[in-house]
Subunit: 139 residues, 3 copies
């Protein structure tokens, strides 16, 4: 049994979903592992991880709109407002989605379903460089 | 250290929670592993995973009702509507719950709490066959 | 490759976030492992796990307030009401947050981002002793 670490950096330009399936698949191939478990971990509290449909971009737009309606940007609702009206809603949106996702891989292939894509979910307005740590264990 | 893979298929008949604790426990016993980590991963974007109370079925009904109120089926709210009024709400409900859950096991027993059961959360109306991939690593 | 198990108990006094980063870091150091994956698993269905900002306590208060607004304590909304008005909302709040979180560690350090802290999210009013199981695998 062996393990490997890698980091994916994503430059974001405002709220929404940023695909990184291809990069994760390539990094997994680089490890030479055939069977095991890949864990993705995002190192932030105002961006999160999501597995969602990779086919219709409308799904991604609808997810962003839903989150915008669910977690209002009304400063009167929050105490933590010093970092801007998008900050506290970003923490809440992160809490409602995932910080880590673990995906088995078998025969060298990540076991995602046909329609599943890996996404970083950015919640903040300003540009950020986001870090996703990958950990693969297997043989 | 060894690892094992298994797949659980669940035939669903509309939205709600489908228990699979017993099947996961049996598959784990089949591996012969005593101590390690079991990861459940659902291969879909309109069904998800949940650990919830296994005692009172009312809890499961209340969870489904809450999700129905939270994620409205109003087509005016969404762009992605071609697959029916339950489709985009299903993606959102999946995003708000889990795609992977990892549970330690020790002395041959899955470390679930007394009231914890493993469930597939189906979000769509029509019948589906859902696939949950299990990965166990340990010794 | 080796693995270790440990349990963290947290005595809670009502809804809100209880930090356990320091305890997790110490337990990881005790294992002597340098590189691997740490999984935290909460053994309850009315308390959950969260990684959130560790700097401003207002963030924690705002998260609790948001959850209170999102998941109303109105008994008319639920069937499962015998255990009190806070019980079914607690199950729902748990379903919307995490039951397991996996974090890579490297060179003996848990790979949390600068602002990330590990929290138990208690959802119930009365005092509880909550159990978080830690599983570390690595070398």
């Amino acid at each position: 049994m062996k393990q490997h670490f890698a980091t994916i950096e994503i430059a974001t330009k405002g709220p929404g979903l940023y695909a990184f399936t291809d990069r994760a698949v390539r990094l997994l191939a680089d490890t030479g592992l055939n069977d095991g478990l890949l864990t993705c971990f995002v190192r932030h509290t105002s961006a999160s991880l999501l597995i969602q449909e990779n086919a219709d971009p409308d799904v991604l737009a609808d997810l962003e709109s839903f989150m915008r309606r669910l977690v209002l940007r009304d400063p009167k609702l929050y105490r933590h407002t010093t970092e801007g009206p998008d900050d506290m809603p970003s923490h809440i949106r992160s809490a409602l989605t995932a910080v880590s996702i673990s995906i088995p891989f078998h025969d060298g292939r990540l076991a995602l379903g046909t329609w599943q894509g890996l996404f970083l979910f950015e919640h903040r307005d300003t540009r950020h460089i986001r870090e996703i740590l990958l950990h693969a264990i297997g043989e």
